[in-house]
């Protein structure tokens, strides 16, 4: 009777082990790369066509976030302002500034200014700005201290864990909705009073953030 297996199958266990080692290495490398801040782009601060300073306009002048990002309370998407919004002031202020040339050009022609996107939720994630802001989640919770940013950078990780931390325990992140754009605000009674107030909001407004997959991955 001839052999059922050819002689080459003697090497098979070793081959399987080598394969597993290589496969495990790839998985480890991929996880290390994709799950670290480098991939989630914390610190990403692209060069914008116009060096708009949030630190100056919001931090020093005190323009409300919603003056420009006007749709944040009404729509899922917090729109970047139209060029006309910039020109509301800049048709009077710094009319000749060479830094504002792209804005004036866009206002003349109607073509958009190509702002580089900093924060981007993946296509497989549903995120609605309005429901968060209207329930007292401040801008600062996800976007960081934008009022101190000369150049806007990505300050939080936006990983799934980041979202779930808050969805599992929303109380420490809530404040009165009229204070959501006060990025420096701290509760006058300290963290304990903030937490007590947050728990009151959770109870009063029946805040029940989804933790199931389909809550966000619709």
């Amino acid at each position: 009777m001839s052999n059922l297996f050819p002689k080459s199958s003697n090497r098979l266990p070793l081959q399987i082990i080598i394969f597993l080692v290589i496969f495990g290495g790839i998985v480890t490398a991929a996880t290390t790369y994709y799950a670290t801040p480098k991939y989630t782009r914390v610190g990403y601060a692209p060069v914008q066509p116009v060096p708009f300073s949030h630190e100056f306009h919001n931090g020093q002048l005190g323009l409300d976030c919603r003056y420009c990002h006007s749709t944040v309370e009404k729509a899922a998407h917090a729109a970047v302002p139209t060029t006309q919004t910039c020109m509301n002031c800049h048709s009077q202020v710094k009319k000749q500034s060479p830094l504002l040339a792209p804005v004036r050009e866009s206002y003349e022609s109607g073509d958009p200014v190509e702002w580089v996107r900093v924060h981007q939720a993946p296509d497989y994630v549903y995120f609605n700005h309005a429901v968060h802001v209207n329930r007292g989640v401040s801008c600062v919770e996800c976007h960081g201290q934008v009022n101190e940013m000369e150049i806007v950078s990505h300050s939080k990780s936006f990983s799934m864990g980041f979202c779930l931390d808050c969805h599992r325990n929303p109380a420490p992140h809530l404040r009165s909705p009229d204070l959501v754009t006060e990025l420096d605000w701290e509760h006058p009674g300290g963290p304990e009073a903030q937490l007590a107030e947050g728990e009151k909001f959770v109870h009063d407004w029946n805040i029940n953030p989804p933790q199931s997959c389909t809550g966000c991955h619709r």
């Binding site: 302002p81 200014v113 190509e114």
Partner: protein, 324 residues
């Protein structure tokens, strides 16, 4: 084993009845057609044109390998841009739909609609619920008419004898016509249009007729659902347009009239008809619908008594017809 299906021999009725055909080739039984019918698949259906299988696989393997090379750059997220409007547009919130009231012209009538638009692009039409007789309903043709806006065959320019001309040329042409028509009161000038219920157009036509009394204003529709003006005049003594009130009718006879679907007021008529059908207590009356028709329609399928009849026979035989 391959099963052989034996088709039954054509029956005597099939042989003696009318013979139907689907193409002229089938009718005259050309040899090419006979050959085509005998083959299950046309010649060369299983071969790729110009490429053989091995070559195709070679190319695909190379493409996938090259695609893999791109992975090295694909790891980094591409730079994305946000492009807001240059000039603000009133009422537009990116990501939120806007609704506009509009209407869908149906011959002499109009169907009130609400159009959903996203950043200026209409995506969906629904009936306007503020128009009570239709109660927010819309017809399937009105629903589908949204696609007309994205029709690649939609006219994008003016044409004259098949050639595109500019808007300025059209205006020149029209003013030349107006000048020559004004000289003789519009004799020899005819304008062909579709029917419309627009009061603005009626006013314009009136002023045109005052200006050019000899010109002909003609309205034509491929399909019309109004009884001829002469018939209305014979029945009522004056030129009137019928408006049916099915809610109050006890007995309804439809002679080749599909008032549930094909007529311009169909949405209102079908709702009205349903009101006359509704029975809330044991003593409530209920309407009865008799339908005589030459093709199967919604009205016929809804009718309590349906008679199938060729249109040519209708006026002759309907007075003798008694429902079973």
């Amino acid at each position: 084993m391959k099963r052989k299906v034996e088709h039954p021999e054509p029956s005597a009725r099939e042989l003696s009845g009318p013979r139907y055909w689907r193409s002229l080739d089938e009718l005259v039984e050309t040899p090419g057609f006979q050959q085509k019918v005998e083959r299950e698949f046309p010649d060369g259906a299983s071969n790729l044109n110009g490429v053989d299988r091995r070559h195709f696989f070679k190319l695909m393997a190379a493409s996938f390998a090259l695609g893999g090379m791109g992975l090295a750059t694909g790891c980094r997220r591409p730079e994305a841009y946000i492009l807001p409007y240059g000039k603000s547009i009133e009422g537009i919130i990116p990501g939120m739909p806007q609704y506009y009231a509009t209407s869908f012209p149906v011959r002499g009538a109009a169907l009130p609609l609400l159009a959903e638009t996203h950043q200026g692009r209409p995506t969906k039409l629904e009936g306007n619920p503020t128009y009570a007789p239709y109660g927010g309903a819309s017809s399937l043709i009105a629903q589908a008419s949204i696609l007309d806006l994205y029709d690649p065959d939609r006219a994008t320019t003016h044409t004259q004898a098949g050639a595109a001309i500019s808007a300025v040329a059209v205006r020149d042409e029209l003013s030349a016509i107006a000048k020559s028509a004004a000289a003789n009161g519009g004799a020899g000038l005819a304008i062909l249009a579709e029917t419309s219920s627009s009061p603005s157009r009626a006013r314009l036509v009136k002023s045109l007729k005052r200006k050019l009394p000899k010109a002909i204003w003609a309205e034509y529709d491929a399909v019309t659902d109004l009884p001829p003006a002469a018939a209305a005049k014979a029945a009522f003594g004056k030129s009137v347009k019928p408006l049916y009130r099915f809610a109050e009718a006890k007995r309804i006879v439809a002679i080749d009239a599909d008032f549930f679907h094909a007529e311009s007021g169909a949405l209102g008529y079908s709702r009205d008809f349903a009101k006359g059908r509704k029975v809330k207590s044991a003593h409530d009356p209920m309407n009865r619908l008799y339908s005589v028709e030459s093709t199967f329609t919604l009205t016929g399928s809804m009718a309590d008594h349906r008679l199938r009849l060729a249109s040519s026979h209708m006026l002759v035989s309907w007075p003798h017809w008694r429902p079973r």
